[in-house]
């Protein structure tokens, strides 16, 4: 379901657009930013809001790699698998993630915190291998740094849940 907050932002995103379709990529980014994925209900809601046919929205959603039609973990890790990262040890990073998180690609860890996927070139090959967490790049990675990153993300989450109690 599209949130009230989204409907407010919708106005801002679309006010200067050339036509109803122009803002579609930005709107999908916004839904994903809020919910970490874009569900069927969102597509129907967006179709109603924009006046665009459902099928046209779905075709855009499925064309682009960044949109997640399925739920992801709170932290979605993307490991670049292209040549420069491959030569710099990306396969070891993927292996490590699988072992450490005990999940396969695109599954969600039991605590709901993590998921990961292999992606193509992220455009930061000079600091390979690269892992992005949600929208933040982590460069010059290795398995030790990856372990540390995961522990840090867990710690952040731990503090947050303490705060809400």
């Amino acid at each position: 379901m599209l949130s009230e907050n989204f409907k407010t932002n919708y106005k801002k995103i679309t006010e200067k657009a050339e036509n109803a379709q122009s803002s579609l990529l930005a709107l999908l980014h916004e839904i994903q930013r809020e919910n970490r994925h874009i569900g069927e209900e969102d597509l129907n809601g967006l179709s109603e809001l924009t006046g665009l046919p459902y099928a046209r929205i779905k075709t855009v959603l499925t064309f682009y790699n960044m949109y997640n039609a399925k739920k992801t973990g709170k932290y979605h890790l993307q490991v670049c698998r292209n040549l420069s990262c491959h030569m710099a040890g990306a396969p070891n990073l993927l292996k490590r993630l699988k072992e450490k998180l005990k999940i396969k690609e695109n599954e969600i860890s039991d605590d709901g915190l993590f998921s990961y996927s292999e992606v193509e070139c992220l455009g930061a090959c000079g600091t390979a291998p690269v892992v992005s967490v949600n929208e933040t790049y982590h460069e010059n990675m290795d398995t030790l740094k990856l372990d540390k990153l995961i522990e840090e993300l867990k710690a952040i989450q731990g503090q947050r849940s303490k705060g809400t109690k």
Binding site: V60, F63, Y64, L83, S84, C121, G126, A128, E135
Partner: protein, 415 residues
């Protein structure tokens, strides 16, 4: 000699202190056609990969007609390429100034920067510097009391290599899936929202202020003959100092490797070089060490300058595996419109995987080459060629490494 990365300027104060926006002030005293002439004189060529003369591209835009667009291609998705990101990090206002000048030259009131979706941080940097320029009246209505209006909007992609192809990029700005358009008509006549449009790469546009301030002739004198000016090379792979380098064109690769990149890392030996992004034919170490870094020398060596995305491949990397990694990428990124690309990229990927896993035959290698040859020039856009070129060159120059897999004794993959 450096132009693009000579001085870092993260904000507008520093950029102006470094002499920034002087070109913009100068340009309003010139007629738009004189600006185009100046850029023609500079011999600046498109830095995204195709190397098309920039001034000529601008001159294709009709003088009449109500609406024109300038689009900056910041999709930067060609594996090995990360140079535009460096300009956005270190000298973002040079891009904006170049865009405003280009907009004035072609008579566009609206500019778009299309940036790949993964570059979220870079998109935020661009939003920040656009706001700075607007505050100083370098963007908006009646810029510097010249009567010229210009606005820039940042549009984020959402993960699709194909959107670096200029007509796919236009489709994506329009909010559609990024499938390339048939040409003609070319974007200069029918571009964004059906209006005349110029699409230039970040690096191309960022070079424009220098050309206006110092003159086209001064820029044309830099570099090597028809390859004028400076070029960014983004270097990855096991050299001591990978990163982004701005060099004058014509520099010998050997000198570049030894003096600027610090040579290979300890224990690594050079085997091959991809000079201009993953799409260009691969060079052996021997070929690479003999060539210079400019359009003509690289063409003579049988490859291309492309985007300047240089991937250094060491002895330890199996070339059959490297080609499979690239084939997997192109198959994944094929937009699916044209059968030779959609099917061909899948077939090549499958064949190479079979070869790697030990189930391949000599015929597989010939088939892969033949499929690649049949993909070349047979599709709407060059994505098919972009896989065909590495496929043909890897198989030709490093066939023995593929054969080792057929025999089941590749020492490099066993490690």
């Amino acid at each position: 000699m450096k132009i693009l990365l000579e001085k870092e300027a993260f904000d507008i104060e520093t950029y102006v202190k470094n002499g920034g926006y002087a070109a913009l002030k100068k340009v309003f005293n010139l007629k738009p056609e004189n600006v185009i002439d100046e850029v023609k004189r500079s011999n600046l060529r498109g830095r995204g990969g195709a190397g098309f003369p920039t001034g000529m591209k601008w001159s294709f835009i009709p003088k009449s007609g109500p609406k024109k667009y300038l689009v900056c291609n910041s999709d930067e998705s060609e594996p090995g390429t990360f140079k535009d990101r460096e300009i956005i990090h270190k000298n973002p206002h040079s891009l904006l100034e170049g865009m405003i000048i280009a907009g004035y030259a072609i008579g566009a009131a609206k500019g778009y920067i299309y940036i790949r979706g993964e570059f979220a941080r870079e998109a935020r940097i661009l939003e920040k510097v656009i706001a700075e320029a607007r505050n100083r009246k370098y963007l908006g209505k009646n810029i510097l009391s010249s009567g010229f209006d210009f606005e820039i909007t940042v549009v984020r992609g959402a993960g699709a290599y194909i959107c670096g192809e200029e007509t796919a990029l236009l489709e994506s700005i329009e909010g559609k899936k990024g499938q390339p358009r048939l040409k003609p008509p070319f974007p200069a006549l029918v571009g964004l929202y059906g209006s005349p449009t110029v699409i230039n790469n970040v690096e191309t546009l960022a070079a424009v202020p220098y050309i206006i301030v110092k003159g086209g002739d001064a820029y044309a004198k830099l570099g090597a003959g028809k390859s004028a000016g400076t070029k960014l090379f983004s270097v990855s792979g096991p050299v001591r100092k990978p990163g982004v380098y701005e060099i004058e064109m014509g520099l010998p690769f050997k000198k570049f490797l030894e003096e600027q990149l610090g040579g290979m890392k300890d224990g690594e030996k050079l085997k091959a070089v991809i000079m201009g992004g993953s799409s260009v034919p691969v060079l052996t170490a021997e070929e690479a060490l003999k060539t210079n870094l400019d359009y003509e020398s690289l063409a003579e060596a049988g490859t291309m300058l492309g985007s300047g995305g240089m991937i250094i491949i060491p002895e330890r990397q199996c070339m059959a595996e490297a080609l499979w990694v690239l084939a997997r990428f192109y198959h994944h990124e094929s937009c699916g419109q044209c059968a030779p690309c959609r099917e061909g990229s899948g077939w090549i990927e499958k064949i190479l995987r079979r070869v790697l896993e030990g189930g391949g035959s000599e015929k597989d290698l010939d088939d892969a080459r033949e499929i690649a040859e049949n993909m070349m020039g047979k599709t709407i856009c060059p994505l098919a060629d972009a896989l065909a070129m590495p496929t043909i060159s890897f198989l030709k120059k490093f066939r023995s490494e593929f054969v080792k897999h057929l025999e089941g004794n590749c020492e490099l993959c066993r490690k």
